[in-house]
Protein backbone atom coordinates (compact mmCIF):
# COMPACT_ATOMS: atom_id res chain seq x y z
CA UNK A 1 0.00 0.00 0.00
CA UNK A 2 1.39 3.41 -0.85
CA UNK A 3 0.80 6.66 0.92
CA UNK A 4 -0.34 8.25 -2.32
CA UNK A 5 -3.98 7.84 -3.13
CA UNK A 6 -5.01 7.88 0.48
CA UNK A 7 -7.65 10.25 1.69
CA UNK A 8 -6.85 12.65 4.51
CA UNK A 9 -8.73 10.56 7.00
CA UNK A 10 -6.97 7.38 5.96
CA UNK A 11 -3.61 9.13 6.22
CA UNK A 12 -4.42 10.39 9.72
CA UNK A 13 -5.41 6.87 10.70
CA UNK A 14 -2.10 5.53 9.40
CA UNK A 15 -0.09 8.09 11.32
CA UNK A 16 -2.02 7.29 14.50
CA UNK A 17 -1.64 3.54 14.01
CA UNK A 18 2.09 3.61 13.37
CA UNK A 19 2.84 6.03 16.19
CA UNK A 20 0.88 3.81 18.59
CA UNK A 21 2.87 0.81 17.40
CA UNK A 22 6.11 2.73 17.86
CA UNK A 23 5.16 3.62 21.44
CA UNK A 24 4.20 0.03 22.26
CA UNK A 25 7.44 -1.24 20.73
CA UNK A 26 9.57 1.18 22.73
CA UNK A 27 7.77 0.58 26.02
CA UNK A 28 8.36 -3.15 25.73
CA UNK A 29 11.83 -3.21 24.24
CA UNK A 30 13.53 -0.30 25.97
CA UNK A 31 13.74 -1.84 29.48
CA UNK A 32 15.16 -5.04 27.98
CA UNK A 33 17.60 -3.10 25.80
CA UNK A 34 18.66 -1.01 28.78
CA UNK A 35 19.44 -4.10 30.87
CA UNK A 36 21.65 -5.39 28.06
CA UNK A 37 23.66 -2.18 27.62
CA UNK A 38 23.85 -1.57 31.38
CA UNK A 39 25.28 -5.03 31.97
CA UNK A 40 28.54 -4.20 30.20
CA UNK A 41 28.75 -0.43 30.51
CA UNK A 42 30.86 1.33 33.12
CA UNK A 43 28.92 0.94 36.36
CA UNK A 44 29.57 4.51 37.55
CA UNK A 45 28.10 5.93 34.36
CA UNK A 46 25.09 3.60 34.64
CA UNK A 47 24.36 4.47 38.25
CA UNK A 48 24.58 8.21 37.59
CA UNK A 49 22.12 8.01 34.73
CA UNK A 50 24.62 8.69 31.92
CA UNK A 51 23.86 5.49 30.04
CA UNK A 52 20.53 5.84 28.32
CA UNK A 53 20.67 4.97 24.65
CA UNK A 54 24.11 3.53 23.98
CA UNK A 55 26.61 1.58 26.06
CA UNK A 56 29.31 3.84 27.51
CA UNK A 57 32.67 2.78 28.79
CA UNK A 58 32.99 -0.91 29.13
CA UNK A 59 33.32 -3.15 32.09
CA UNK A 60 32.90 -6.87 32.28
CA UNK A 61 33.13 -6.83 36.06
CA UNK A 62 29.58 -8.06 36.49
CA UNK A 63 29.99 -11.02 34.16
CA UNK A 64 33.36 -11.93 35.72
CA UNK A 65 31.77 -12.03 39.17
CA UNK A 66 28.89 -14.14 37.86
CA UNK A 67 31.19 -16.66 36.20
CA UNK A 68 33.08 -17.08 39.47
CA UNK A 69 29.93 -17.47 41.54
CA UNK A 70 29.37 -21.16 42.23
CA UNK A 71 25.79 -20.53 43.40
CA UNK A 72 24.79 -19.43 39.92
CA UNK A 73 26.30 -22.53 38.30
CA UNK A 74 24.83 -24.94 40.83
CA UNK A 75 21.47 -23.30 40.20
CA UNK A 76 21.97 -23.48 36.46
CA UNK A 77 22.88 -27.16 36.59
CA UNK A 78 19.87 -27.95 38.82
CA UNK A 79 17.44 -25.98 36.70
CA UNK A 80 18.74 -27.59 33.52
CA UNK A 81 18.23 -31.04 35.04
CA UNK A 82 14.76 -30.24 36.47
CA UNK A 83 13.69 -28.67 33.19
CA UNK A 84 14.81 -31.47 30.90
CA UNK A 85 13.84 -34.41 33.12
CA UNK A 86 10.63 -32.68 34.24
CA UNK A 87 9.54 -31.94 30.69
CA UNK A 88 10.29 -35.53 29.67
CA UNK A 89 8.07 -36.84 32.48
CA UNK A 90 5.38 -34.30 31.60
CA UNK A 91 5.33 -35.52 28.01
CA UNK A 92 5.34 -39.21 28.96
CA UNK A 93 2.31 -38.64 31.18
CA UNK A 94 0.43 -36.18 28.97
CA UNK A 95 0.72 -37.40 25.39
CA UNK A 96 -0.49 -41.01 25.81
CA UNK A 97 -3.36 -39.80 28.00
CA UNK A 98 -4.33 -37.20 25.42
CA UNK A 99 -4.31 -39.86 22.71
CA UNK A 100 -6.57 -42.14 24.79
CA UNK A 101 -9.01 -39.31 25.49
CA UNK A 102 -9.21 -38.55 21.77
CA UNK A 103 -10.38 -42.09 20.94
CA UNK A 104 -14.14 -41.98 20.49
CA UNK A 105 -14.52 -45.72 21.05
CA UNK A 106 -13.02 -45.44 24.54
CA UNK A 107 -16.15 -45.59 26.69
CA UNK A 108 -14.63 -44.21 29.89
CA UNK A 109 -13.38 -41.03 28.25
CA UNK A 110 -16.17 -38.77 29.44
CA UNK A 111 -15.97 -39.63 33.16
CA UNK A 112 -12.17 -39.46 33.06
CA UNK A 113 -12.29 -36.12 31.28
CA UNK A 114 -14.67 -34.88 33.97
CA UNK A 115 -12.30 -36.10 36.68
CA UNK A 116 -9.52 -34.09 35.05
CA UNK A 117 -11.45 -30.91 34.27
CA UNK A 118 -12.73 -30.60 37.85
CA UNK A 119 -9.14 -29.98 38.95
CA UNK A 120 -8.99 -26.86 36.79
CA UNK A 121 -11.59 -25.25 39.04
CA UNK A 122 -11.08 -26.87 42.45
CA UNK A 123 -7.88 -27.46 44.29
CA UNK A 124 -6.90 -28.23 47.83
CA UNK A 125 -4.95 -25.03 48.25
CA UNK A 126 -1.42 -24.43 49.42
CA UNK A 127 -1.46 -26.01 52.86
CA UNK A 128 -3.01 -29.43 52.09
CA UNK A 129 -0.73 -29.71 49.05
CA UNK A 130 2.30 -28.88 51.17
CA UNK A 131 1.33 -31.46 53.79
CA UNK A 132 0.82 -34.09 51.10
CA UNK A 133 4.36 -33.54 49.79
CA UNK A 134 5.65 -33.91 53.33
CA UNK A 135 3.68 -37.13 53.85
CA UNK A 136 5.04 -38.47 50.56
CA UNK A 137 8.58 -37.60 51.74
CA UNK A 138 9.46 -35.82 48.52
CA UNK A 139 10.15 -32.41 50.03
CA UNK A 140 13.81 -31.51 49.84
CA UNK A 141 14.41 -33.98 47.01
CA UNK A 142 14.57 -33.33 43.29
CA UNK A 143 11.40 -35.38 42.79
CA UNK A 144 9.27 -32.51 44.00
CA UNK A 145 10.21 -30.63 40.82
CA UNK A 146 9.36 -33.58 38.61
CA UNK A 147 6.32 -35.51 39.82
CA UNK A 148 3.71 -33.15 41.32
CA UNK A 149 1.22 -31.80 38.78
CA UNK A 150 3.09 -33.48 35.94
CA UNK A 151 -0.12 -33.45 33.90
CA UNK A 152 -1.31 -29.96 33.06
CA UNK A 153 -4.98 -30.36 32.20
CA UNK A 154 -5.05 -27.35 29.92
CA UNK A 155 -2.22 -28.75 27.79
CA UNK A 156 -3.86 -32.17 27.90
CA UNK A 157 -7.02 -30.70 26.37
CA UNK A 158 -4.98 -28.93 23.69
CA UNK A 159 -3.29 -32.22 22.79
CA UNK A 160 -6.53 -34.18 22.82
CA UNK A 161 -8.22 -31.64 20.55
CA UNK A 162 -5.27 -31.83 18.20
CA UNK A 163 -5.36 -35.64 18.03
CA UNK A 164 -9.11 -35.56 17.39
CA UNK A 165 -8.66 -33.40 14.32
CA UNK A 166 -5.29 -34.70 13.09
CA UNK A 167 -6.13 -38.41 13.24
CA UNK A 168 -9.25 -39.14 11.20
CA UNK A 169 -11.24 -42.26 12.13
CA UNK A 170 -10.53 -43.83 8.72
CA UNK A 171 -6.80 -43.73 9.41
CA UNK A 172 -7.24 -45.68 12.61
CA UNK A 173 -9.65 -48.16 10.99
CA UNK A 174 -7.19 -48.83 8.20
CA UNK A 175 -4.41 -49.40 10.73
CA UNK A 176 -6.59 -51.79 12.77
CA UNK A 177 -7.33 -53.74 9.57
CA UNK A 178 -3.60 -54.25 9.24
CA UNK A 179 -3.49 -55.60 12.78
CA UNK A 180 -2.12 -52.46 14.36
CA UNK A 181 -2.55 -52.15 18.13
CA UNK A 182 -3.11 -48.89 20.01
CA UNK A 183 0.49 -48.90 21.21
CA UNK A 184 1.78 -49.19 17.66
CA UNK A 185 -0.68 -46.71 16.24
CA UNK A 186 0.29 -44.17 18.89
CA UNK A 187 4.02 -44.63 18.41
CA UNK A 188 4.13 -45.13 14.63
CA UNK A 189 1.30 -42.91 13.38
CA UNK A 190 0.02 -40.47 16.01
CA UNK A 191 3.34 -39.15 17.32
CA UNK A 192 5.07 -38.67 13.94
CA UNK A 193 2.01 -36.74 12.72
CA UNK A 194 2.07 -34.35 15.65
CA UNK A 195 5.55 -32.86 15.70
CA UNK A 196 4.18 -29.32 15.83
CA UNK A 197 1.97 -30.22 18.77
CA UNK A 198 4.81 -31.94 20.62
CA UNK A 199 6.97 -28.85 20.23
CA UNK A 200 4.19 -26.57 21.46
CA UNK A 201 3.32 -28.57 24.56
CA UNK A 202 6.95 -29.43 25.26
CA UNK A 203 7.88 -25.77 25.14
CA UNK A 204 5.03 -24.73 27.40
CA UNK A 205 6.23 -27.26 29.97
CA UNK A 206 9.87 -26.30 29.43
CA UNK A 207 9.28 -22.61 30.08
CA UNK A 208 7.16 -23.48 33.11
CA UNK A 209 9.99 -25.51 34.66
CA UNK A 210 12.64 -22.95 33.80
CA UNK A 211 10.75 -20.09 35.43
CA UNK A 212 9.40 -22.03 38.42
CA UNK A 213 10.57 -20.65 41.72
CA UNK A 214 7.57 -21.53 43.88
CA UNK A 215 8.56 -25.19 44.26
CA UNK A 216 12.04 -24.28 45.41
CA UNK A 217 10.70 -21.66 47.80
CA UNK A 218 8.18 -23.93 49.50
CA UNK A 219 9.69 -27.40 49.42
CA UNK A 220 13.48 -27.13 49.26
CA UNK A 221 15.75 -26.32 52.19
CA UNK A 222 19.03 -27.69 50.82
CA UNK A 223 21.01 -25.01 48.96
CA UNK A 224 22.55 -27.60 46.66
CA UNK A 225 19.12 -28.48 45.29
CA UNK A 226 17.87 -24.95 44.73
CA UNK A 227 17.00 -24.01 41.14
CA UNK A 228 18.41 -20.99 39.37
CA UNK A 229 15.34 -18.87 40.10
CA UNK A 230 15.90 -19.11 43.87
CA UNK A 231 19.55 -18.13 43.43
CA UNK A 232 18.33 -15.21 41.34
CA UNK A 233 16.00 -14.20 44.12
CA UNK A 234 18.88 -14.07 46.59
CA UNK A 235 20.96 -11.99 44.21
CA UNK A 236 18.30 -9.71 42.74
CA UNK A 237 15.86 -9.23 45.59
CA UNK A 238 17.58 -10.10 48.84
CA UNK A 239 20.66 -8.23 47.65
CA UNK A 240 23.01 -11.08 48.54
CA UNK A 241 25.03 -10.19 45.51
CA UNK A 242 28.48 -11.30 46.52
CA UNK A 243 29.01 -14.89 47.42
CA UNK A 244 31.44 -13.99 50.23
CA UNK A 245 28.85 -11.80 51.87
CA UNK A 246 30.10 -8.34 50.90
CA UNK A 247 27.29 -6.01 49.98
CA UNK A 248 24.71 -7.87 52.02
CA UNK A 249 22.65 -5.80 54.35
CA UNK A 250 23.29 -2.73 52.21
CA UNK A 251 19.62 -2.62 51.29
CA UNK A 252 18.33 -1.69 47.86
CA UNK A 253 18.11 1.98 48.74
CA UNK A 254 21.69 2.51 49.90
CA UNK A 255 23.98 4.14 47.38
CA UNK A 256 27.72 3.91 47.40
CA UNK A 257 30.48 1.81 46.06
CA UNK A 258 29.27 -1.72 46.75
CA UNK A 259 25.80 -0.94 45.45
CA UNK A 260 27.10 0.23 42.07
CA UNK A 261 28.95 -3.02 41.54
CA UNK A 262 26.03 -4.97 42.93
CA UNK A 263 23.74 -3.41 40.33
CA UNK A 264 26.06 -4.37 37.52
CA UNK A 265 26.03 -7.96 38.70
CA UNK A 266 22.26 -7.81 38.81
CA UNK A 267 22.03 -6.59 35.20
CA UNK A 268 24.40 -9.36 34.16
CA UNK A 269 22.62 -12.10 36.02
CA UNK A 270 19.29 -11.11 34.46
CA UNK A 271 20.87 -11.62 31.03
CA UNK A 272 22.65 -14.85 31.93
CA UNK A 273 19.52 -16.43 33.39
CA UNK A 274 17.08 -15.37 30.69
CA UNK A 275 19.33 -16.00 27.71
CA UNK A 276 18.40 -19.63 27.00
CA UNK A 277 14.67 -18.91 26.87
CA UNK A 278 15.06 -15.65 24.97
CA UNK A 279 17.34 -17.27 22.40
CA UNK A 280 14.84 -20.04 21.76
CA UNK A 281 11.99 -17.58 21.63
CA UNK A 282 12.16 -16.01 18.13
CA UNK A 283 12.33 -19.43 16.51
CA UNK A 284 9.49 -20.88 18.51
CA UNK A 285 7.17 -17.92 18.74
CA UNK A 286 4.89 -19.20 15.99
CA UNK A 287 4.50 -22.52 17.80
CA UNK A 288 3.54 -20.88 21.07
CA UNK A 289 0.87 -18.94 19.30
CA UNK A 290 -0.38 -22.01 17.50
CA UNK A 291 -0.86 -23.68 20.87
CA UNK A 292 -3.21 -20.98 22.08
CA UNK A 293 -5.10 -21.19 18.80
CA UNK A 294 -5.56 -24.96 19.01
CA UNK A 295 -6.63 -24.61 22.62
CA UNK A 296 -9.18 -21.94 21.90
CA UNK A 297 -11.01 -24.04 19.32
CA UNK A 298 -12.70 -26.06 22.04
CA UNK A 299 -11.81 -24.19 25.22
Amino acid sequence: MTLKGMGGKELAFHILLYSLCAVIFLVIMYPLYFIVIASFSDSTLVSTGKVLLFPKGSSLFGYKEIFQDSRVWTGYRNTLFYTLFGTLVNMLFTMPAAYVLSRKEFKARRPIMFLFVVTMFFNGGLIPTYLLMKDLHITNTFWVFILPFCVNIFYLIIARTFFETALPAELHEAAVMDGCSHFMFFAKVALPLSKALISVIGLYYLVGHWNDFFTGLIYIRDNNLQPLQIVLRDILLSNQVFQNGAGTGGGAASGGYAQRYADQIKYGVIIVSSLPILMLYPFLQKYFEKGVMIGSVKG
Binding site: C21, F34, A97, V100, I112, R260, V292, S296
Partner: protein, 304 residues
Protein backbone atom coordinates in the same frame (compact mmCIF):
# COMPACT_ATOMS: atom_id res chain seq x y z
CA UNK B 1 -23.98 -61.81 32.60
CA UNK B 2 -24.24 -60.19 29.19
CA UNK B 3 -23.30 -56.81 30.60
CA UNK B 4 -20.37 -58.31 32.46
CA UNK B 5 -19.27 -60.14 29.33
CA UNK B 6 -19.50 -56.92 27.32
CA UNK B 7 -17.46 -55.13 29.95
CA UNK B 8 -14.80 -57.80 29.85
CA UNK B 9 -14.70 -57.72 26.07
CA UNK B 10 -14.34 -53.92 26.14
CA UNK B 11 -11.59 -54.24 28.73
CA UNK B 12 -9.76 -56.78 26.57
CA UNK B 13 -10.14 -54.54 23.55
CA UNK B 14 -9.11 -51.36 25.42
CA UNK B 15 -6.52 -52.62 27.88
CA UNK B 16 -3.72 -50.82 26.02
CA UNK B 17 -5.66 -47.58 26.27
CA UNK B 18 -6.04 -48.09 30.01
CA UNK B 19 -2.31 -48.65 30.35
CA UNK B 20 -1.62 -45.43 28.47
CA UNK B 21 -3.92 -43.31 30.59
CA UNK B 22 -3.23 -44.94 33.97
CA UNK B 23 -0.16 -42.80 34.85
CA UNK B 24 -2.08 -39.58 34.22
CA UNK B 25 -5.05 -40.75 36.29
CA UNK B 26 -2.75 -41.79 39.14
CA UNK B 27 -0.91 -38.45 39.07
CA UNK B 28 -4.14 -36.45 39.11
CA UNK B 29 -5.67 -38.53 41.91
CA UNK B 30 -2.59 -38.22 44.08
CA UNK B 31 -1.58 -34.63 43.50
CA UNK B 32 -4.96 -33.01 42.87
CA UNK B 33 -7.56 -35.05 44.70
CA UNK B 34 -5.76 -35.96 47.91
CA UNK B 35 -5.15 -32.25 48.70
CA UNK B 36 -8.87 -31.64 48.11
CA UNK B 37 -9.57 -34.21 50.81
CA UNK B 38 -7.11 -32.24 52.95
CA UNK B 39 -9.46 -29.24 52.91
CA UNK B 40 -11.24 -30.76 55.93
CA UNK B 41 -8.17 -29.69 57.94
CA UNK B 42 -9.74 -26.24 57.99
CA UNK B 43 -12.37 -27.63 60.34
CA UNK B 44 -9.98 -29.71 62.49
CA UNK B 45 -6.98 -29.29 64.71
CA UNK B 46 -3.71 -30.18 63.10
CA UNK B 47 -1.99 -33.25 64.48
CA UNK B 48 1.62 -33.80 63.41
CA UNK B 49 1.26 -37.56 63.82
CA UNK B 50 -1.80 -37.74 61.59
CA UNK B 51 -0.77 -35.31 58.85
CA UNK B 52 -3.47 -34.61 56.29
CA UNK B 53 -6.17 -36.50 58.18
CA UNK B 54 -6.15 -34.00 61.03
CA UNK B 55 -7.04 -34.29 64.72
CA UNK B 56 -10.09 -33.27 66.73
CA UNK B 57 -13.00 -31.43 65.10
CA UNK B 58 -13.06 -27.69 65.63
CA UNK B 59 -16.03 -26.73 63.45
CA UNK B 60 -15.78 -23.20 62.09
CA UNK B 61 -13.53 -21.93 64.89
CA UNK B 62 -10.65 -21.12 62.57
CA UNK B 63 -12.92 -19.16 60.23
CA UNK B 64 -14.16 -17.13 63.19
CA UNK B 65 -10.60 -16.58 64.31
CA UNK B 66 -9.73 -15.19 60.86
CA UNK B 67 -12.77 -12.94 60.60
CA UNK B 68 -12.16 -11.60 64.11
CA UNK B 69 -8.44 -11.08 63.59
CA UNK B 70 -7.20 -7.51 63.39
CA UNK B 71 -5.65 -8.18 59.98
CA UNK B 72 -8.92 -9.31 58.39
CA UNK B 73 -10.13 -5.97 57.01
CA UNK B 74 -6.66 -5.01 55.77
CA UNK B 75 -6.18 -8.32 53.99
CA UNK B 76 -9.59 -8.22 52.37
CA UNK B 77 -9.20 -4.61 51.30
CA UNK B 78 -5.72 -5.14 49.85
CA UNK B 79 -6.73 -8.30 48.00
CA UNK B 80 -9.86 -6.69 46.56
CA UNK B 81 -8.13 -3.48 45.55
CA UNK B 82 -5.27 -5.22 43.78
CA UNK B 83 -7.59 -7.61 41.94
CA UNK B 84 -10.05 -4.90 41.04
CA UNK B 85 -7.31 -2.64 39.68
CA UNK B 86 -5.87 -5.55 37.71
CA UNK B 87 -9.25 -6.28 36.16
CA UNK B 88 -10.31 -2.69 35.45
CA UNK B 89 -7.04 -1.64 33.84
CA UNK B 90 -5.61 -4.99 32.83
CA UNK B 91 -8.67 -6.55 31.24
CA UNK B 92 -9.32 -4.03 28.43
CA UNK B 93 -5.61 -3.67 27.56
CA UNK B 94 -5.21 -6.85 25.48
CA UNK B 95 -8.48 -6.12 23.67
CA UNK B 96 -7.23 -2.69 22.63
CA UNK B 97 -3.85 -4.13 21.69
CA UNK B 98 -5.48 -6.81 19.52
CA UNK B 99 -7.61 -4.20 17.75
CA UNK B 100 -4.48 -2.13 17.05
CA UNK B 101 -2.38 -5.07 15.84
CA UNK B 102 -5.25 -6.27 13.69
CA UNK B 103 -5.14 -2.97 11.76
CA UNK B 104 -1.59 -3.52 10.58
CA UNK B 105 -1.72 -4.58 6.96
CA UNK B 106 1.97 -5.21 6.31
CA UNK B 107 2.60 -8.80 7.24
CA UNK B 108 6.25 -8.49 8.19
CA UNK B 109 5.67 -5.48 10.37
CA UNK B 110 2.79 -7.24 12.07
CA UNK B 111 5.04 -10.23 12.77
CA UNK B 112 7.70 -8.02 14.31
CA UNK B 113 5.10 -6.36 16.54
CA UNK B 114 3.63 -9.69 17.62
CA UNK B 115 7.05 -11.16 18.40
CA UNK B 116 7.78 -8.07 20.49
CA UNK B 117 4.59 -7.98 22.50
CA UNK B 118 4.62 -11.71 23.35
CA UNK B 119 8.24 -11.61 24.51
CA UNK B 120 7.87 -10.34 28.12
CA UNK B 121 5.50 -13.23 28.88
CA UNK B 122 8.49 -15.60 28.95
CA UNK B 123 10.53 -13.63 31.45
CA UNK B 124 10.40 -15.21 34.90
CA UNK B 125 8.65 -13.35 37.69
CA UNK B 126 11.88 -13.13 39.68
CA UNK B 127 13.65 -11.49 36.77
CA UNK B 128 10.72 -9.13 36.21
CA UNK B 129 10.64 -7.99 39.83
CA UNK B 130 14.43 -7.82 39.86
CA UNK B 131 14.33 -5.60 36.77
CA UNK B 132 11.74 -3.38 38.41
CA UNK B 133 13.92 -3.02 41.49
CA UNK B 134 17.07 -2.00 39.63
CA UNK B 135 15.32 0.17 37.05
CA UNK B 136 13.08 2.00 39.54
CA UNK B 137 15.65 2.54 42.25
CA UNK B 138 15.41 6.24 43.11
CA UNK B 139 19.21 6.64 43.43
CA UNK B 140 20.62 4.54 40.66
CA UNK B 141 17.78 3.39 38.42
CA UNK B 142 17.11 4.73 34.94
CA UNK B 143 13.42 5.27 35.67
CA UNK B 144 14.40 7.15 38.84
CA UNK B 145 16.52 9.48 36.68
CA UNK B 146 13.79 9.93 34.11
CA UNK B 147 11.35 10.91 36.83
CA UNK B 148 13.78 13.44 38.23
CA UNK B 149 14.22 14.78 34.71
CA UNK B 150 10.47 15.22 34.41
CA UNK B 151 10.40 17.03 37.75
CA UNK B 152 8.46 14.30 39.51
CA UNK B 153 10.92 14.34 42.36
CA UNK B 154 12.34 11.65 44.48
CA UNK B 155 9.69 8.95 44.71
CA UNK B 156 10.65 5.43 45.65
CA UNK B 157 8.26 3.58 43.36
CA UNK B 158 8.98 0.15 44.78
CA UNK B 159 8.74 1.02 48.46
CA UNK B 160 5.83 3.39 48.71
CA UNK B 161 2.30 2.53 49.75
CA UNK B 162 0.88 4.89 47.13
CA UNK B 163 2.66 3.45 44.13
CA UNK B 164 2.50 -0.26 44.90
CA UNK B 165 -0.77 -0.97 43.10
CA UNK B 166 -0.02 1.12 39.98
CA UNK B 167 3.42 -0.43 39.67
CA UNK B 168 1.97 -3.91 40.15
CA UNK B 169 -0.80 -3.44 37.60
CA UNK B 170 1.26 -1.66 34.95
CA UNK B 171 4.09 -4.18 35.13
CA UNK B 172 1.50 -6.92 34.80
CA UNK B 173 0.17 -5.30 31.64
CA UNK B 174 3.72 -4.90 30.35
CA UNK B 175 4.36 -8.59 30.83
CA UNK B 176 1.10 -10.28 29.83
CA UNK B 177 -0.94 -7.88 27.68
CA UNK B 178 0.63 -9.14 24.45
CA UNK B 179 0.21 -12.79 25.28
CA UNK B 180 -3.40 -12.27 26.36
CA UNK B 181 -4.15 -10.52 23.08
CA UNK B 182 -3.52 -13.73 21.11
CA UNK B 183 -6.96 -15.11 21.86
CA UNK B 184 -8.60 -11.86 20.68
CA UNK B 185 -6.45 -11.82 17.55
CA UNK B 186 -7.62 -15.36 16.87
CA UNK B 187 -11.23 -14.24 17.20
CA UNK B 188 -10.59 -11.29 14.88
CA UNK B 189 -9.05 -13.54 12.25
CA UNK B 190 -12.37 -15.36 11.91
CA UNK B 191 -14.29 -12.22 10.90
CA UNK B 192 -15.81 -12.64 7.45
CA UNK B 193 -13.91 -10.30 5.05
CA UNK B 194 -17.19 -9.57 3.26
CA UNK B 195 -18.27 -7.61 6.33
CA UNK B 196 -15.39 -5.17 5.79
CA UNK B 197 -16.26 -4.84 2.11
CA UNK B 198 -19.88 -4.04 2.75
CA UNK B 199 -18.91 -1.64 5.54
CA UNK B 200 -16.63 0.11 3.03
CA UNK B 201 -19.45 0.38 0.50
CA UNK B 202 -21.57 1.94 3.22
CA UNK B 203 -18.85 4.55 3.59
CA UNK B 204 -17.35 3.39 6.88
CA UNK B 205 -13.81 4.50 7.64
CA UNK B 206 -11.24 2.40 9.51
CA UNK B 207 -12.36 3.70 12.92
CA UNK B 208 -15.99 2.92 12.15
CA UNK B 209 -15.04 -0.59 11.04
CA UNK B 210 -13.26 -1.20 14.34
CA UNK B 211 -16.28 0.06 16.20
CA UNK B 212 -19.00 -1.75 14.23
CA UNK B 213 -17.28 -4.85 12.81
CA UNK B 214 -14.25 -5.81 14.93
CA UNK B 215 -15.56 -5.02 18.38
CA UNK B 216 -18.88 -6.90 18.02
CA UNK B 217 -16.91 -9.92 16.77
CA UNK B 218 -15.00 -9.94 20.05
CA UNK B 219 -17.98 -9.67 22.38
CA UNK B 220 -18.52 -13.41 23.08
CA UNK B 221 -14.81 -13.92 23.86
CA UNK B 222 -14.79 -10.81 26.03
CA UNK B 223 -17.76 -11.97 28.09
CA UNK B 224 -16.37 -15.47 28.73
CA UNK B 225 -12.95 -14.16 29.71
CA UNK B 226 -14.52 -11.50 31.88
CA UNK B 227 -16.58 -14.02 33.82
CA UNK B 228 -13.48 -16.14 34.33
CA UNK B 229 -11.46 -13.19 35.56
CA UNK B 230 -14.22 -12.23 38.00
CA UNK B 231 -14.00 -15.75 39.40
CA UNK B 232 -10.42 -14.96 40.28
CA UNK B 233 -11.21 -11.71 42.03
CA UNK B 234 -9.53 -12.83 45.25
CA UNK B 235 -6.78 -14.98 43.78
CA UNK B 236 -4.19 -12.35 43.17
CA UNK B 237 -1.01 -13.99 42.02
CA UNK B 238 0.95 -15.02 45.07
CA UNK B 239 4.35 -15.05 43.46
CA UNK B 240 4.64 -11.53 42.16
CA UNK B 241 3.13 -9.84 45.19
CA UNK B 242 5.29 -11.93 47.50
CA UNK B 243 8.40 -10.90 45.61
CA UNK B 244 7.41 -7.23 45.45
CA UNK B 245 6.75 -7.05 49.19
CA UNK B 246 9.08 -5.07 51.42
CA UNK B 247 8.68 -3.69 54.91
CA UNK B 248 7.70 -0.27 53.57
CA UNK B 249 4.86 -1.33 51.27
CA UNK B 250 3.54 -4.16 53.45
CA UNK B 251 0.47 -2.22 54.68
CA UNK B 252 -0.93 -2.33 51.12
CA UNK B 253 0.80 -5.42 49.76
CA UNK B 254 -0.16 -8.08 52.30
CA UNK B 255 -2.89 -10.14 50.62
CA UNK B 256 -4.67 -13.35 51.57
CA UNK B 257 -2.34 -15.59 49.53
CA UNK B 258 0.85 -14.20 51.05
CA UNK B 259 -0.70 -14.34 54.51
CA UNK B 260 -1.62 -18.00 54.06
CA UNK B 261 2.00 -18.69 53.12
CA UNK B 262 3.35 -16.90 56.16
CA UNK B 263 0.88 -18.43 58.61
CA UNK B 264 1.03 -21.92 57.15
CA UNK B 265 4.47 -22.59 55.72
CA UNK B 266 6.52 -20.22 57.89
CA UNK B 267 4.66 -20.47 61.23
CA UNK B 268 3.27 -24.00 60.78
CA UNK B 269 -0.31 -23.06 61.80
CA UNK B 270 -1.67 -25.47 59.21
CA UNK B 271 -5.34 -25.58 60.18
CA UNK B 272 -5.69 -21.83 60.49
CA UNK B 273 -3.95 -21.30 57.13
CA UNK B 274 -6.17 -23.92 55.44
CA UNK B 275 -9.25 -22.15 56.75
CA UNK B 276 -8.06 -18.81 55.34
CA UNK B 277 -7.30 -20.46 51.99
CA UNK B 278 -10.73 -22.08 51.88
CA UNK B 279 -12.42 -18.80 52.79
CA UNK B 280 -10.65 -17.23 49.81
CA UNK B 281 -11.76 -20.01 47.44
CA UNK B 282 -15.38 -19.74 48.58
CA UNK B 283 -15.53 -16.01 47.86
CA UNK B 284 -14.09 -16.64 44.40
CA UNK B 285 -16.84 -19.14 43.72
CA UNK B 286 -19.54 -16.75 44.84
CA UNK B 287 -18.21 -14.15 42.39
CA UNK B 288 -17.89 -16.64 39.56
CA UNK B 289 -21.47 -17.86 39.93
CA UNK B 290 -22.87 -14.36 40.41
CA UNK B 291 -21.13 -13.05 37.29
CA UNK B 292 -22.15 -16.08 35.28
CA UNK B 293 -25.78 -15.71 36.32
CA UNK B 294 -25.72 -12.00 35.49
CA UNK B 295 -24.24 -12.61 32.07
CA UNK B 296 -26.74 -15.39 31.34
CA UNK B 297 -29.57 -12.95 32.03
CA UNK B 298 -28.12 -10.04 30.09
CA UNK B 299 -26.47 -11.63 27.09
CA UNK B 300 -27.32 -15.34 27.04
CA UNK B 301 -23.61 -16.15 27.29
CA UNK B 302 -22.61 -18.52 30.03
CA UNK B 303 -19.79 -20.83 31.00
CA UNK B 304 -22.01 -23.89 31.22
Amino acid sequence: MRILGGGLRALRRDYQLWIMIAPAIAAVLIFNYIPMYGIQLAFKDFDFAKGLTGGAWRGVDYFKQFIDSYLFTDLMRNTFLISLATIIVGFPAPIILALILNQIRRKRFKNVMQTTVYLPHFISIIVLVGMMNVLMSPETGVIGYMMKGLGLGHINLIASTNTFIPVYVLSDIWQHCGWNSIIYLAALSTVDPQLYDSAKIDGAGRMKMIRYVDLPALVPTIIILFILSMGNILSTGFEKIFLMQNSLNLPVSEVIATYVYKIGIISNQFSYASAIGLFNTLINFVFLFAMNAASKKMSNTSLY
